[in-house]
């Protein structure tokens, strides 16, 4: 379980370039099936609107998973993530068309800890809004 990024080569304030993650309705259907979260707000527009939502919204955990993917791709090994937490600050609205929407994730090295661990602060945006806040991952580097 070795990260490919070396602790000694990382500096506080260093940015991890943004990556775009497209989201279409089919991704939400797949995520519902894989996760077991079949709340209809994530696939049924009619139901979503009756409970006051603008449209179908992505599972918060789907968005969190994209942030996780961003960190594990950077670190080089998923086992290097030792702590990962987020607050869901805004909805990811997914229209019923071929484009869907896009979640853009970027990161910055916020802190260097003991034992070659670092804190990565994540920013995730969709349609100009921050969809995650207080998003932090602690990563064990090499």
């Amino acid at each position: 379980m070795a990260a490919t990024v070396k602790y000694d080569e990382v500096e506080i304030g260093q940015e991890i370039p943004a990556v775009d993650y497209p989201v279409r309705r089919i991704n939400l259907v797949m995520y519902a099936g894989a996760s077991g979260d079949f709340n209809p707000i994530h696939w049924n527009e009619r139901f979503a609107k009756t409970v006051g939502l603008p449209d179908v919204i992505a599972h918060g955990m789907f968005t969190m998973a994209q942030g996780g993917r961003f960190v594990t791709d950077w670190a080089g090994d998923p086992g290097a993530v030792v702590d990962y937490g987020v607050r869901f600050s805004s909805m990811v609205v997914v229209p019923d068309d071929d484009q869907g929407t896009v979640i853009t994730v970027s990161g910055v090295i916020e802190e260097k800890l003991e034992d070659k661990r670092v804190v990565v602060a994540l920013t995730a945006k969709c349609d100009g809004s921050r969809v995650l806040s207080k998003a932090r991952a602690v990563v064990q580097l090499a």
């Binding site: 379980m1 070795a2 993650y21 991704n27 797949m30 995520y31 099936g33 894989a34 996760s35 077991g36 979260d37 709340n39 707000i41 409970v51 006051g52 599972h59 918060g60 955990m61 789907f62 969190m64 998973a65 994209q66 996780g68 993917r69 960190v71 594990t72 791709d73 090994d77 998923p78 086992g79 993530v81 030792v82 702590d83 990962y84 937490g85 987020v86 607050r87 869901f88 909805m91 207080k134 991952a137």
Partner: protein, 148 residues
């Protein structure tokens, strides 16, 4: 309707053991669009030093909500139709991998009102059937309008 504060501190019975399989990890990784070979290919995972394919960091959401029974208790007063996810955190002792058999115990740690919404936090301690703690999850859900 306000949530019943008497539920703070209430813990679930230990869940039935959840067997982490290669197939489920692959399905979950595919659903989040992640083709990392450490999720999909045992040899790639072993080359990276893991005993078998590893689960993505958010995978425990699949099985750790044994608190679901608590949340579904009518005495709590939670209206699921108005629920959205507020916060989530995973704290790992080690990566979860295929072959793990995991038992979760969930505890309601907090219920509070913020504006018109009700927030409830459930901690789940996830351990192997042998008793090794591998992960602790913190799940906060929001009942919109619940405090109004």
């Amino acid at each position: 309707m306000a949530l019943n504060r008497d539920f703070v501190g209430r813990a679930s019975a230990p869940s039935a053991p959840y067997e982490v399989s290669r197939v489920k990890i692959r399905e979950f990784a595919t659903a989040i669009g992640d083709s990392n070979p450490i999720y999909h290919d045992r040899e790639a995972a072993q080359a990276a030093g893991h005993p078998d394919v590893v689960a993505p960091p958010t995978f425990p959401i699949v099985f750790s909500l044994s608190g679901g029974a608590i949340l579904a208790d009518p005495e709590l007063g939670l209206n699921f139709a108005m629920v959205v996810h507020g916060e989530q955190r995973f704290e790992y002792r080690r990566p979860i991998h295929a072959g793990d058999e995991l038992v979760s115990v969930s505890t309601v740690t907090d219920i509070r009102s913020v504006g018109r919404n009700e927030f409830i936090t459930v901690r789940s301690d996830v351990a192997t059937v042998e008793g090794e703690l591998v992960c602790t999850t913190y799940n906060t859900i929001v009942e919109r309008g619940g405090a109004g």
